[in-house]
């Protein structure tokens, strides 16, 4: 009898899964604050190494964290399987918010699917949508201050609608702004 874990099925291209992890909700400020690395890139490798699942991403742009051409996301294999953490396939273009690595070198997307924005083309636009459809992504944020005047119209619309796809470029510009403001706030 061959033993295997749910992970084998989860890797199947046909697979779907339901959450076995209970998570707190995060808004975009929380994602930016908690992430040690924010990267826009494409998954170029998926492998297992001992107890870890290692995803390699070619970085198009690093929004937070040390500059790098590639980012390796090392996830604890069993913990990811039991909690049904997000998984990635080669070729997927994503905007990722990743926790700083633990002492053992493990990390994961912040808030699991909340910190994974899949980039897709829709009606001629490049859009970014997280696992929750960007629902409540701007909850509790001061949108008047963040998006003054006519700035970030798509963000405003998404905020009023309570979710929905975001223009990828607009989202990245807002993230960069949030990080800059966080950095200013952190200075003595």
């Amino acid at each position: 009898m061959k033993r295997c874990i749910l992970a084998g099925i989860l890797f199947c291209a046909l697979c779907s899964h339901a959450s076995a992890a209970a998570l707190r909700e995060l808004n975009l400020e929380g994602l930016c604050r908690s992430a040690g690395t924010i990267v826009w890139g494409v998954c170029t490798g998926v492998e297992t190494r001992d107890e870890a699942l290692v995803y390699t991403f070619t970085a198009y742009r690093m929004l937070k964290g040390a500059a790098a051409d590639t980012v390796a996301l090392r996830m604890h294999k069993a913990a990811s399987m039991y909690a049904r953490a997000p998984r990635f396939a080669e070729g997927q273009e994503v905007l990722l918010f990743l926790h700083p690595e633990s002492d053992r070198g493990y990390s994961s997307p912040v808030g699991f699917g909340q910190g994974v924005f899949r980039i897709a083309s829709s009606s001629g636009e490049r859009t970014a949508v997280n696992e929750r459809g960007n629902s409540r992504l701007f909850r509790g944020m001061n949108m008047d201050k963040l998006c003054p005047g006519a700035a970030f119209p798509g963000i405003r619309q998404c905020s009023l609608a309570g979710g929905g796809a975001l223009r990828h470029q607009e989202l990245m510009e807002l993230i960069a702004k949030l990080i800059t403001e966080n950095d200013k706030g952190a200075r003595p």
């Binding site: 199947c12 992890a21 908690s34 294999k77």
Partner: protein
């Protein structure tokens, strides 16, 4: 330490047919039988951490765990049972947790109290314990005669949330998670009651609803859809005396099968509480079929799209993995049906339903945002098809 062996992807592709349906199993075999703990595994043993859980004493935390398993065990029409097999050999923390993440031959499911979040931070990255309340899931094995089945679970609870959540809210959270532990998927019933700033109607939301609501406390007790779904997975002898069965197929008007829509049967006379659901083409056979157990009575039906935000870890049914999955790319138009069915205990009845496509929401994207905004402003109807 026994190593967890990953199944070869090729073997998974050959053997796998693991999908889910609303108010039903998380995974199924190729022949559409659900992946469950086998009868020989009953009572399913679990062992509890020796340590405290944040602000909760060990006895309080262990009592919550016993209560959560007890909620599922108390369903009279289901043949599932659990046994508290005592304590784990130690207080589990970030220095000694690894062996418990390997399923092993003893088939005893560890329940770990991560008192200060240290284990979660170690396995998911620094700061992860700020957001991960806990998890519960089960390992799986394969038998040539019976197919896939669960062997042993693992539960981990983050003690950092004991300062935020009452024991009742913890219970509601982990009754839901233990539903996944034993193989249940999410259920989308009474969606309008969720986060509507009205706590009095939260009692009508099933435990296996994908998200929290205004007051999660009532979700610590099972609703009819939860009990029916559990009975489908683990039918007790004589459960036929309590349920009838509805089998059906959802088609497009063209006659092609419609996949990934939520079908809800509503009992006349108890419309808010007695609702049962299934997702069309739940076994991914491409035939649009659905199936549910219902308590005896007369039922009307409605069909609705899976809510667009229920993807990935919050998915409902097998076609909701991402925003580009079939439930969302080809959503049905929400509709009520005139047909009713009267079901007696032990009876099986069949029904064919026909769905219309919602052409105003062909592909998730920026246009959908504008549509949602117009709905929020009341300028178009909730179905999004009328101005």
């Amino acid at each position: 330490m026994k190593k967890i062996q990953l199944l070869c992807l090729c073997a998974a592709l050959l053997q796998y047919a693991a999908m889910a349906w609303a108010g039903g199993p998380l995974y199924t075999n190729r022949d559409c039988t659900p992946v469950v703990f086998p009868a020989s595994a009953m009572p399913i043993p679990y062992a509890v951490d020796q340590g405290e859980l944040g602000d909760f004493s060990n006895s309080l935390a262990a009592g919550i765990v016993d209560d959560c398993f007890g909620v599922w065990q108390s369903v009279p029409t289901a043949s599932i049972s659990f046994k508290n097999a005592g304590f784990l050999p130690e207080d589990v923390n970030e220095t000694n947790y690894e062996p418990y993440f390997d399923s092993d031959a003893d088939r005893v499911s560890p329940v770990i109290f991560d008192s200060d979040g240290g284990i979660i931070d170690d396995v998911y990255g620094y700061g992860a314990s700020d957001y991960i309340i806990g998890f519960s899931g089960s390992a799986i094995d394969y038998d040539a005669s019976g197919g896939w089945y669960y062997t042993e679970g693992l539960t981990l609870i983050n003690g950092r949330f004991t300062g935020l959540f009452t024991p009742a809210v913890f219970k509601a959270t982990f009754v839901h998670e233990f539903g996944h532990f034993i193989g249940l998927d999410h259920s989308q019933i009474n969606l309008p009651y969720v986060s509507d700033d009205n706590t009095t109607n939260d009692m009508y939301i099933p435990t296996m609803f994908p998200t929290s609501t205004d007051d999660d406390t009532p979700l610590g007790e099972l609703n009819p859809d939860d009990e029916a779904a559990l009975t489908m997975l683990y039918p007790a002898e004589g459960s036929d005396a309590a349920y009838g069965r509805i089998r059906g197929t959802l088609y497009w008007r063209s006659g092609l099968p419609a996949r990934g829509a939520n079908i809800v049967a509503v009992k006349q006379g108890d419309e808010r509480m007695s609702q049962f659901s299934s997702v069309s083409d739940y076994c991914m056979q491409g035939d649009g079929s659905f199936e549910m157990l219902v308590t005896p009575g007369t039922y009307s039906f409605f069909v609705e799209p899976v809510y667009p935000l229920f993807t990935g870890g919050s998915s409902v049914g097998p076609y909701a993995d991402t925003a580009l999955s079939a439930s969302f790319v080809f959503p049905v138009r929400a509709a009520d049906y005139e047909e009713t069915l009267t079901i007696a205990a032990g009876e099986t009845k069949e029904i064919e339903l026909f769905a219309r496509r919602n052409w105003l929401r062909p592909v998730p994207g920026l246009a959908a945002n504008l549509l949602q905004l117009l709905k929020n402003l009341g300028l178009i109807s909730a179905s999004g098809t009328e101005l």
